[in-house]
């Protein structure tokens, strides 16, 4: 099956074309095509996973490469490189996407662009899968950009409102800003690796020291800029919360489980470059870990002050992505990938659950929810499972993966990251408690009568709840399968990543911290013990205001953009119109002016003077000679003969 893994992205791509061409005429308006395609892809991916697991250890990546074309002696090709990481991603992406497709049939029911929505979902999945199977950076970038396009299309799905299309543009531009780095980084590494886009080759060259450290550092830093854009790392995370303007299934698919992890995937994929480039081995600290750590904290803080349930989840996603990036930064590769794996399930679950809530109460705001536990039992239970998994409570998925990250930070010598991780765990537990309290406890504060969602929406929740509970066990001590299946391996380079033994003390510590978070938040909300604290303490009040304003980052960026769009663009245009065009027009004017001078002085006086003078003298001569013109033919004849006679005489005399 793995030899044919290229089918996995191809099938959704074909589905996109079919839905776009015939979707509206089909009985289910195209949804069935998308679901069928995703089911096939998912099955292939699963079979592939089984095959991968069944392979002999050490497992070798399945590759295939097709030369596309050559220009200037450089080969451009398309290919696939399927190793454990790719297999895992294929399974996760197809599975989540399938769930989202099914869910959307209920959620998007009756939407005016229902067919179009499914087409975009298919294209998105295809692009993401293309990125995942890619064996070279160019193809990876193509997938990466197409993913960006789809996110634009889907975030701006309801483009009638300016806010939505604005959010779509913001998402596209912000990620594209990061893509400057991605593009130039790929170019730097392309030349560094001897004009080769191949990822395997690149990792090999980086790890064996064939590429200079300086070049690698530059290349890795540039690539990381792209990662910051796509995976919403500080300070380019601003687009993700706004991207919640899109329909909720989109948020689940794109902004939780798959697209945003593309950045993390890129780092994991090109880990050789980052490992050597940032000297992760040495310990201490590095850009990747720092950015990840900052993101963990600032995003978690922001999650506390949101009223919109999707924004809480969005900031939570940002924070969790920070965890993954931080894990990669400390060298805990397996932990990062494992967290990516588990997070995909419970975050998709949470987002789809929030969609179910929104579907019921017709509002995103938690202030208009409350007491929904009795109205929507299934949604409640699944949402709780997701929250507990996210909070990292034993034995759900989040606990195991988060624990591994903390372990990595501890053992590999990044104490600051360990502290940050624990703080993050505390805050995650606390803000999820807050969200659950606001949504499910107390009395209903909204309008109308909330009701449980239709089966097409509830079943994906139930299905997703299973891996949200169990996925973590895959790498639990004693079972420990995952790290054998998915490992970072480069042909011809010995293993350099160490796996650490389970540390019960640390695990207990992180669990305690998470429980403490729940307890504190519970005390705050259920008991009202700390009520009004924010109002009483000025420092907290200021903090609150800063958080509500998202650290004023949006304002800063907006100011920068305004700074470009208005004054600079205006100035540039002014320069264009007045200076450059002024020069042109000035040249024209000067030419005209000098022409006028030339005309008046030289032409009119001198040259025309000569001409006019000639004319005048001719005229005067004529008025004298006109007297000869009597009109008498005979007189003319006489003159003629006279003249002939004179000439003849002259001739005679002269000769």
């Amino acid at each position: 099956m793995l030899d044919n893994a290229w089918l996995i992205p191809l099938i959704p791509a074909i589905s996109f074309v079919i839905i776009l061409s015939f979707g509206k005429r089909l009985p289910k308006k195209g949804a069935e095509v998308g679901i069928t395609a995703l089911t096939i892809s998912f099955v292939i991916a699963l079979l592939g996973a089984v095959e991968w697991i069944g392979k002999e250890v050490p497992r070798h990546a399945v590759t295939g490469h097709q030369t596309w074309f050559e220009i200037g002696g450089v080969e451009f090709g398309a290919g696939m490189h399927i190793d454990g990481l790719a297999v895992m991603m294929l399974v996760v992406v197809t599975f989540i996407s399938l769930m989202v497709h099914v869910y959307s049939t209920g959620y998007m029911h009756g939407d005016r662009r229902y067919t179009y929505f499914f087409a975009a979902l298919s294209l998105f999945t295809a692009a993401m899968l293309l990125l995942v199977v890619s064996d070279n950076t160019l193809q990876l970038m193509i997938g990466w950009e197409l993913v960006g396009l789809c996110s634009f299309m889907l975030i701006g799905h309801w483009w009638e409102e300016g806010v939505n299309s604005g959010a779509a543009i913001k998402a596209f531009i912000t990620t594209r800003t990061g893509d400057i780095g991605l593009m130039t980084g790929i170019i730097v590494l392309f030349f560094a690796a001897g004009r080769d886009f191949s990822i395997e080759h690149l990792n090999h060259e980086a790890l064996t020291g064939a590429i200079g450290h300086g070049t690698l550092l530059v290349g890795a830093s540039l690539l990381f800029l792209g990662v910051m854009g796509k995976s919403a790392q500080f300070p380019l995370h601003v687009w993700l919360p706004d991207a919640m303007a899109g329909p909720t299934p989109v948020s689940a698919l794109i902004h939780a489980a798959t697209m945003v992890v593309a950045g993390v995937y890129l780092v994991a994929r090109l880990f050789g470059v980052f490992w050597t480039g940032f000297s992760i081995e040495v310990g201490g600290t590095n850009l990747v870990a720092i950015i990840g750590a900052i993101t963990v904290i600032i995003a978690a803080l922001l999650a506390f002050v949101q009223d919109d349930v999707k924004k809480v989840l969005a900031y939570s996603t940002v924070s969790q992505l920070g965890y993954m990036v931080m894990a990669l930064g400390v060298g805990a590769w397996t932990a990062a990938v494992f967290h990516l794996f588990t997070h995909a399930f419970f975050k998709a679950l949470l987002f789809l659950g929030s969609g179910s809530l929104i579907h019921a109460v017709h509002s995103n705001n938690m202030s208009e929810m409350g007491g929904l536990r009795k109205y929507m039992p299934t949604t409640f239970w699944t949402f709780m499972v997701g929250s507990v998994a996210l909070a990292g409570i034993f034995p759900l998925a989040g606990f195991w993966s988060k624990d591994e990250i903390l372990l990595g930070a501890l053992v590999d010598g990044f104490p600051i990251m360990l502290v940050v991780g624990l703080m993050g765990a505390f805050m995650t537990a606390a803000y999820m408690t807050r969200a659950c309290y606001l949504i499910f406890a107390g009395e209903y504060r909204g309008h109308g009568h909330p009701h449980e969602s239709p089966p097409s929406m509830v079943w994906p929740l139930r299905i997703l709840a299973v891996p949200a509970v169990l996925a973590g066990l895959l790498n639990a001590p004693g079972i420990g399968l995952f790290h054998g299946w998915v490992e970072f391996e480069v042909e011809g380079v010995p293993h350099f990543l160490e796996l650490h033994d389970f540390n019960p003390v640390l695990a207990a510590g992180s669990l305690a911290v998470a429980l403490l978070g729940i307890a504190v938040a519970g005390a705050y909300y259920y008991r009202g013990a700390l009520n009004g604290l924010a109002d009483r303490v000025p420092l907290l009040r200021t903090g609150h205001r800063v958080l509500v304003n998202k650290y004023y980052l949006d304002d800063l960026f907006l100011a920068i953009i305004r700074g470009i769009q208005y004054p600079i663009a205006k100035a540039a245009y002014w320069v264009n119109q007045h200076v450059l065009d002024g020069v042109v027009n000035g040249v024209g004017k000067a030419a005209q002016r000098s022409a006028q001078v030339a005309y008046e002085v030289i032409d009119q006086r001198v040259i025309d003077g000569a001409v006019n003078g000639a004319g005048l003298s001719a005229e005067e001569g004529g008025s004298i000679l006109r007297h000869l013109q009597t009109g008498r033919v005979q007189q003319y004849a006489a003159l003629l003969f006279g003249a002939v006679a004179v000439l003849a005489m002259g001739l005679v005399v002269l000769t």
């Binding site: 220009i71 200037g72 009638e160 409102e161 300016g162 531009i173 800003t177 470009i564 663009a569 245009y573």
Partner: protein
């Protein structure tokens, strides 16, 4: 056969001139027939082309023309000319179709069609000419019909725009012909381009620099490069839709084509000295064009400025003097022709329907004319360089090539250019999406709420679908073009590469 491809349109123009102007249907039919026939000749050229030998001239005709100055009627096409020639033919057919029943005021289809056919002869001839004088004649032949198109059928400020266009380009041409003459006298008394390529290297360096300067002015104005671009927005804004399309799709390429066909291969040493400056102007153009776009309120003017930015990428590719960069440049030329041509078509149709191109007054196109809105969106993404569509393959390789320019050029300088160009892609996304949002998204403005807006007409479909398909096709299968271009580019960069190896050998000793 190539001669037929060049002169068929002008013969057609003569035929049209004999048809009384009242018989519009017949005029249009004949014009369409002629352009189609030309395109069929083009197809025949396409099929008869020997792709294994795309690097050398094919369909060559070489007979005496003006014996006194040893100028010959020498035409021929290689892998660089072929795509551009076909582009010019296709665009003309589509323009005739598009203008089928919306000729701009003051109507007069006869004159309009004749001008279009003359224009086609000029464009085709320029892409096929292998003799400097012949090249110059065709290059200039293009000017006049365009001047009349803008000056007669243009917008309110047409006189100014037309004269500016004409004089500006003529100014460049004057310097260009001077350089041609200099080449004639310094390069062994011939105007033949292939011969000059062999001999050009022998000209003294200082003279080369001067000659290149003259060529640069002539071509750079046509491209147009910053800071010689100011005629472009005016010309585009005032020109009728079809004029804008031809201008953007083909005419601008004459300049870049001139660099690739004449300036660089004949004068490789001068090209090397000039390259950093060309690169500098190119990246300034990229950023500057983008900034210009952001300040616009008029849709057509915005697209015109985006052309400045896009041609900046093309020129950056050329300035690297690498085979990679020039490949990218030629691809970028074709892609820009398809995409920007298409954008101008849409802008023209929007103006026709709403009577305005002001971004502030438009909105909700997707609600009133969903298909057109979709096409606009498609072109916007193609234009901002989305992989999978044609624009990407002009843009990315150009940026890539700037990382490692030809031997003898400063790497640091070009790497800075690369970074700036990469930033330019973000700006491109910015202004294009901003335009898309203003035009296509949102709700319809009150003033047009009750207006009856037609979605895409039949002639528009016929004119647009080939362009859209081309954008998609070359986006997914770029090798269709690259395979033709690449061998021919080898011949262009041969001179520069020889310099590089000579320099390397020099330092080696």
């Amino acid at each position: 056969m190539l001669t037929a491809a060049i002169f068929l349109p002008i013969v057609g123009a003569a035929v049209l001139a004999c048809i009384p102007r009242e018989r519009e249907e017949m005029l249009k039919a004949v014009a369409l027939l002629i352009t189609l026939a030309t395109a069929v000749v083009g197809l025949a050229l396409l099929f008869g082309f020997n792709y294994d030998d795309a690097g050398s001239l094919q369909y060559e005709v070489d007979t005496g023309w003006i014996e006194v100055i040893n100028s010959r009627y020498h035409i021929g096409i290689d892998g660089i000319s072929l795509p551009l020639l076909i582009l010019s033919m296709v665009i003309t057919v589509l323009c005739v179709v598009y203008s089928w029943d919306h000729f701009p005021e003051p109507h007069n289809p006869k004159a309009f069609l004749i001008l279009m056919l003359v224009l086609e002869t000029g464009m085709n001839g320029t892409f096929a000419a292998q003799d400097l004088i012949l090249f110059f004649v065709f290059f200039e032949l293009v000017l006049l019909p365009m001047y009349f198109m803008i000056g007669v059928w243009g917008g309110p400020n047409r006189q100014y725009a037309a004269i500016k266009f004409f004089l500006y380009t003529l100014f460049g041409s004057a310097l260009m012909i001077l350089s041609f003459l200099a080449l004639y006298f310094k390069g062994g008394q011939t105007f033949d381009i292939p011969l000059l390529i062999e001999q050009g290297g022998t000209i003294a360096h200082g003279t080369q620099l001067l000659i290149f300067g003259g060529l640069f002015m002539g071509f750079a104005i046509k491209v147009p490069m910053f800071p010689f671009h100011t005629w472009l927005p005016d010309a585009h804004t005032e020109a009728p839709t079809v004029g804008s399309v031809i201008l953007a799709a083909v005419l601008l390429k004459l300049g870049t084509y001139g660099f690739i066909r004449i300036a660089i291969p004949i004068l490789p040493q001068a090209a090397q000295s000039w390259a950093p400056w060309i690169g500098l102007l190119a990246v300034i153009g990229i950023i500057y064009g983008a900034l210009g776009c952001l300040a616009q309120r008029d849709m057509k003017r915005l697209i015109a400025f985006s052309s400045v930015a896009h041609m900046g990428f093309v020129m950056l590719g050329i300035a690297t003097l690498t085979s990679f960069g020039i490949n990218a440049a030629v691809f970028g030329m074709v892609a820009h022709g398809l995409i920007t041509g298409m954008l101008f078509f849409i802008a023209g149709s929007i103006q026709e329907r709403f009577g305005t191109r002001e971004l502030d007054r438009l909105g909700g196109l997707l609600l009133q004319a969903p298909r057109m809105g979709w096409m606009l969106g498609f072109c916007v993404f193609a234009s901002l360089g989305l992989p999978g569509l044609a624009g990407f393959w002009g843009e990315f390789p150009a940026i890539l090539s700037a990382y490692q320019p030809a031997a003898g050029l400063s790497e640091l300088t070009f790497r800075i250019y690369m970074a700036v160009a990469a930033i330019g892609t973000v700006f491109a996304a910015g202004y294009l999406l901003w335009m898309l949002q203003r035009v296509a998204f949102g709700v319809v403005k009150p003033e047009f709420e009750n207006a009856h807006i037609h979605d895409v007409h039949l002639p528009e479909y016929i004119a647009w679908v080939p362009l859209l398909l081309g954008i998609l096709l070359f986006g997914i299968f770029p090798h269709l073009l690259f395979n033709i271009i690449d061998p021919a580019v080898g011949a262009v960069t041969a001179g520069v590469e020889a310099l590089g190896t000579a320099a390397a050998a020099g330092t080696g000793r």
